[in-house]
């Protein structure tokens, strides 16, 4: 059984998962613990944007989703492909590269898209604002956490 990159690690029941501790939680379909969604994001961004520098941070633990989720990410992409492009076009390039993840598992994606020159003069990773609990009990987020399972 091939591991699917779109499978998100999730507990057996999403409703129960939100209410009980996940002490017995097992990533039942992917024995590889190195996070398939994060790997897919890294691979796709590398292939499409040929970055000088790339950081992919899983920030799901900062949000109201079960431990082990791969739903909220922050990416920092430094690429000369962004030269001359306004921010919105840069972000659209990133969105395009991660289209499949964004329509399945990934619920939130924070993006920093810099040219090598911009990164050189300000090499800092921005911080995400604190969660306000919106994902808790959110049916759409539960669906995303389920994505790729069937």
């Amino acid at each position: 059984m091939l591991p699917s990159v779109f499978r998100c690690v999730r507990p057996v029941s999403t409703t129960l998962a939100l209410n009980r501790p996940l002490a017995h939680f097992r990533p039942h379909m992917d024995p590889d613990p190195s996070r398939p969604v994060e790997r897919a994001i890294r691979t796709k961004l590398t292939n499409s944007l040929l970055p000088d520098h790339l950081e992919v941070h899983n920030e799901s633990h900062m949000h109201a989703v079960p431990p082990g989720s791969e739903s909220h990410f922050r990416v920092l992409v430094v690429s000369s492909k962004f030269e001359g492009l306004p921010l919105i076009q840069r972000h659209r390039l990133v969105n395009e590269a991660l289209k499949e993840e964004l329509s399945s598992c990934v619920h939130a994606l924070a993006i920093q898209a810099k040219t090598p020159e911009q990164w050189g003069s300000n090499p800092t990773l921005a911080k995400s604002p604190p969660c306000m609990g919106g994902s808790r009990g959110d049916h759409t987020v539960e669906e995303k956490l389920k994505a790729g399972r069937e």
Partner: protein, 156 residues
């Protein structure tokens, strides 16, 4: 305070909008046709919604009570610039709106910000525009004088 109530009221109004197309004689269409019609109607409505006000935000929650850190960041940035009078649509109240606006903007996440009917971006972009001074300029183009300009004047 009044402007806050106004933007909240506007948001509630949008959340209560019902997209139920009917045929000319008043009969309701079959479910699948209704869904397609509703989706097309929503895209048309969104076209109007983003043009009706100078500043339009699609967010989770309301400006008074944001339900997401990223949406809250947008609200706080606008507030810092003294922009209190804007249309805020709560996508958590309407799943069709939530999905429809992503199609309309061709943008996968919420929040989404529009200036004069034109899509600006999400939280990250607004934050960077705020940090590099572009937001003050863009607001000026909308005829909005940023409150931060006053603060700058006072400190000089």
């Amino acid at each position: 305070m009044n402007s806050l109530i106004r933007s909240t009221a506007r948001c509630l109004r949008a959340g209560a909008a019902v997209y139920l197309p009917r045929q000319a004689d008043g009969r309701v269409l079959a479910a699948s046709a209704r869904l397609l019609c509703a989706a097309a109607d929503l895209q048309k409505d969104l076209g109007n919604m983003v043009k009706k006000d100078k500043v339009v935000v699609f967010m989770k929650g309301t400006p008074a009570q944001p339900m997401c850190g990223f949406s809250n960041a947008v609200v706080q940035i606008l507030r810092m610039h003294g922009v209190d009078d804007y249309a805020a649509y709560n996508v958590l109240e309407d799943q069709d709106l939530r999905e429809g606006v992503k199609v309309f903007s061709n943008w996968p996440t919420i929040p989404q910000v529009y200036f004069n009917g034109e899509f600006v971006g999400g939280c990250d972009i607004l934050l960077q525009m705020h940090q590099n001074g572009d937001l003050v300029e863009e607001l000026k183009k909308l005829g909005i004088h940023s409150a931060l300009l006053e603060t700058e004047k006072e400190s000089k």
